[in-house]
């Protein structure tokens, strides 16, 4: 096991200290230098990031991504844990599949891969999957989601919310009323009308969120809302929280940065579910992230092979990459904007997602005795995005943009997975 000290790192609260690591744990924080001294002057040291919403595509869609390539992208983005979404092939709706995904994650060894189980068999929205079996499997699934599809049947949703209470699970809802979004291509508004692309109304998301927070209240259950994208959704979640409903919510980096104007060139790299919304929505999401209405930033990293995007808009797949750029966008929204601080950054990128899924050893504050999951970023530098990075896919929406901040080192359980912005193994 390595023994090293990060010298002169800045912590989230602004203090500068040396952080010593040995045997996968933080052994000291102060003026000490133990083991190899690693210069960290000017770098911000934060608990390793935890992504709550990652599509690793394996098993079934290995042409897009594998657990290995997705894990590498995650490590390069400062992550030490990711939650692997269930819409694989076969669907992660049995103990066997979730255990397989976890085993692949352990084998890759770059980040902790925590599988998410499907709510319904085959994501078909008809019959509950064996949630208990997945919870009790070696994968210890706590988060269940049909992401990519909405659990639209209200009765089924009610039952799922209640059932997962039996083992402390949480349902992560992809809020999309299916009838209101038949053949929908992009946010319904001025731009969709001009482009002649079938609209995706905000109310299709908001109506499901409203229904589900009320169901959660009625059942006395927790609920997590995936990828909030509209100002109206923010209002509903804010109302629900004020009412004491146990709701948590996530926002993706792309919904914090991009708008429906991006669709004007019909470049399918900007085709995503939920769709990019208006500038007013972006503003509302940013405010909600800062004021605590939205709990976490989750990537919804969704790799697709070239042929799924190299075509006309309506034939293209939904989704975009996100693991290697999320921290930069969170920095832009929270830090560079001057509106928030690194402590909030830590909450939304690490502490809160770990807490929602109850992931042990992740999202712990950097303190003596904590598991040494650490991300070090240089907030002063910036980089021009040119490609899809370590992902197997290339659907990079930020190509050509210059984003602030660079992940310099990622330490997972006391070992470097990324060192000097390069994979360490």
């Amino acid at each position: 096991m390595s023994k090293f000290t990060l010298v002169g790192a800045t912590l989230a609260d602004g203090t500068v200290a040396n952080i010593s690591v040995a045997d996968s744990r933080i052994t000291a924080i102060g003026n000490q230098v133990e083991g190899e001294a690693i210069e960290a002057n000017g770098l911000v040291a934060l608990p390793g990031f935890v992504d709550f919403h990652t599509h690793l595509r394996e098993p079934g869609f290995e042409q897009s991504e594998t657990v290995l390539t997705g894990s590498r992208a995650a490590a390069l983005g400062g992550y030490t844990a990711v939650h692997a979404m269930a819409n694989t092939h076969p669907v992660a709706d049995t103990a066997g599949v979730v255990e397989q995904v976890k085993a692949l994650g352990d084998e890759a060894g770059y980040v902790q891969v925590q599988p998410i189980g499907a709510v319904t068999v085959g994501l078909e929205g008809k019959q509950l999957a064996e949630l208990g079996a997945m919870a009790q499997s070696k994968a210890k699934v706590t988060v269940f989601s049909d992401d990519g599809k909405c659990v639209s049947d209200p009765l089924l949703m009610r039952r799922a919310l209640a059932y997962v209470k039996s083992f402390g699970g949480v349902i992560a809802q992809h809020a999309q009323e299916p009838r209101l979004t038949e053949n929908s291509q992009m946010h319904e508004g001025k731009v969709s009308t001009e482009l002649g692309l079938a609209g995706w109304p905000a109310v299709a998301e908001e109506s499901i969120i409203a229904r589900d927070v009320l169901l959660a209240e009625a059942v006395g259950s927790r609920i997590h809302i995936c990828h909030l994208s509209t100002a109206g959704s923010v209002e509903i979640v804010r109302w629900a929280k004020a009412r004491g409903i146990q709701v948590t919510a996530e926002v993706t980096p792309h919904h914090l940065l991009l708008t429906d104007e991006s669709a004007r060139g019909y470049d399918p790299v900007f085709k995503v579910n939920p769709p990019l919304r208006t500038a007013a929505d972006v503003l509302a999401l940013r405010e909600a992230l800062i004021d605590g209405t939205i709990d976490i930033v989750a990537t919804d990293h969704a790799p697709h092979p070239a042929e799924a995007k190299d075509c006309e808009w309506s034939a293209a797949a939904f989704g975009m990459l996100g693991l290697e750029t999320a921290a930069s966008i969170a920095q832009e929204v929270l830090i560079d904007s001057g509106l928030s601080d690194w402590q909030r950054f830590t909450e939304v990128m690490s502490t809160n997602p770990a807490k929602i899924s109850g992931l042990e050893g992740q999202g712990e504050s950097l303190a003596v005795g904590s598991v040494a999951n650490i991300a070090l970023i240089d907030p002063q530098s910036s980089r021009k995005i040119t490609d899809g990075g370590a992902s197997k896919s290339d659907n990079q929406p930020y190509r050509g943009l210059t984003l602030p901040g660079t992940v310099i080192h990622t330490i997972y359980r006391g070992e470097f997975t990324v060192r000097d912005s390069k994979l360490a193994k």
């Binding site: 009308t193 001009e194 002649g196 075509c311 309506s314």
Partner: protein
């Protein structure tokens, strides 16, 4: 100009130049030898992912009258069953050395994607993409209207004219292109449709809009009224309850025809549903320009091809 993808690509000057050229092309179409050597040696491909015999023939005749070689390519596939990919088809055409691709596609933006993807080097002419645009139709409508209101029209726009577009505005590529081009040429545009078929993004661009055809007829002094084709699939998707109700409230019929001004021209991009959005008496009335619209299609498409294909690099 390299491509014609949208009515937004046309400045007032461009548009008027094309309309003026079409006057000369119409002269060619009136003479015994209806052929010009202008595009000799050029290859025009009609790439149709959607059946539209009239539009395809119109482009085909236009290209042939300019002496271009024409290849008709009816691609398999539809929005329902994905067939041949646009990219593979485009690259096949590129290998044939197409100087221009006339594309009709069920997907909005397909023409734009084809023009900007790097799959083909030639010009791209949008002959209708999904529910987005149909710029050659808008040009031929503008040409027809300009000629009807002012026979000696070279150099003129449509300044001060008032035009109503009535029907399924939301799903109509003809409405989008016409709204833009009519505004570019100085006309006032009034949109009329049931509220389910009248999206805000388009009403914002119009001079006025209304849910009542009667109100528009009674309150606006119209130079022309364009009736749009209503597709029965809209009824099945609950945009309106029945054909009968649609015809009663938004159809052009004898009674409304009588209340229109003596000088209001009647237009329809075709094909018509007689008895639904327009009754036979209105379609065949003295003020109807519907047959002129059909007749002018070839001239305007010749003019478009001339402007896109005849010249060398700027």
């Amino acid at each position: 100009m390299k491509h014609l993808l949208s009515a937004n690509d046309l400045t007032r000057e461009n548009a008027i130049e094309i309309l003026d050229t079409a006057i000369e092309m119409a002269g060619v179409n009136d003479r015994e030898i209806k052929k010009l050597p202008t595009l000799r040696g050029k290859t025009v491909v009609n790439l149709f992912f959607e059946d539209s015999t009239r539009t395809r023939i119109s482009f085909e005749v236009a290209a042939k009258r300019l002496s271009a070689d024409v290849i008709n390519f009816a691609a398999k596939g539809s929005s329902v069953s994905k067939g041949e990919s646009l990219k593979d088809t485009a690259q096949t055409l590129e290998a044939m050395g197409a100087d221009a691709v006339v594309i009709r596609h069920y997907a909005s933006g397909a023409a734009h994607t084809l023009a900007h993807s790097g799959w083909v080097n030639g010009s791209v002419i949008n002959a209708g993409d999904g529910t987005h645009e149909h710029p050659s139709q808008a040009l031929l409508d503008a040409f027809t209207l300009r000629k009807a209101v002012n026979q000696d029209a070279a150099g003129a726009g449509l300044d001060g004219l008032s035009v109503a577009i009535v029907g399924d505005i939301a799903h109509s590529r003809v409405a989008r292109s016409n709204l833009t081009l009519l505004k570019t040429l100085g006309a006032k545009v009034h949109l009329v449709a049931p509220a389910t078929l009248l999206p805000k993004g388009l009403t914002d661009k119009a001079d006025s809009y209304s849910y009542s055809l009667d109100e528009t007829i009674d309150s606006v002094d119209l130079d022309a009224i364009m009736m749009l084709r209503v597709q029965s699939e809209r009824m099945n998707a609950s945009f309106f309850p029945s054909e009968r109700e649609y015809a009663r409230i938004w159809g052009l019929n004898q009674d409304r025809l009588a209340r229109l001004g003596e000088n209001t021209f009647i237009m329809h991009p075709g094909p018509m549903n007689r008895g639904l959005e327009i009754d036979a008496r209105s379609a065949d009335s003295r003020r109807s320009l519907i047959l002129d619209q059909v007749a002018n299609g070839v001239s305007i498409r010749m003019a478009i091809m001339y402007h896109l294909l005849a010249g060398g690099a700027e």
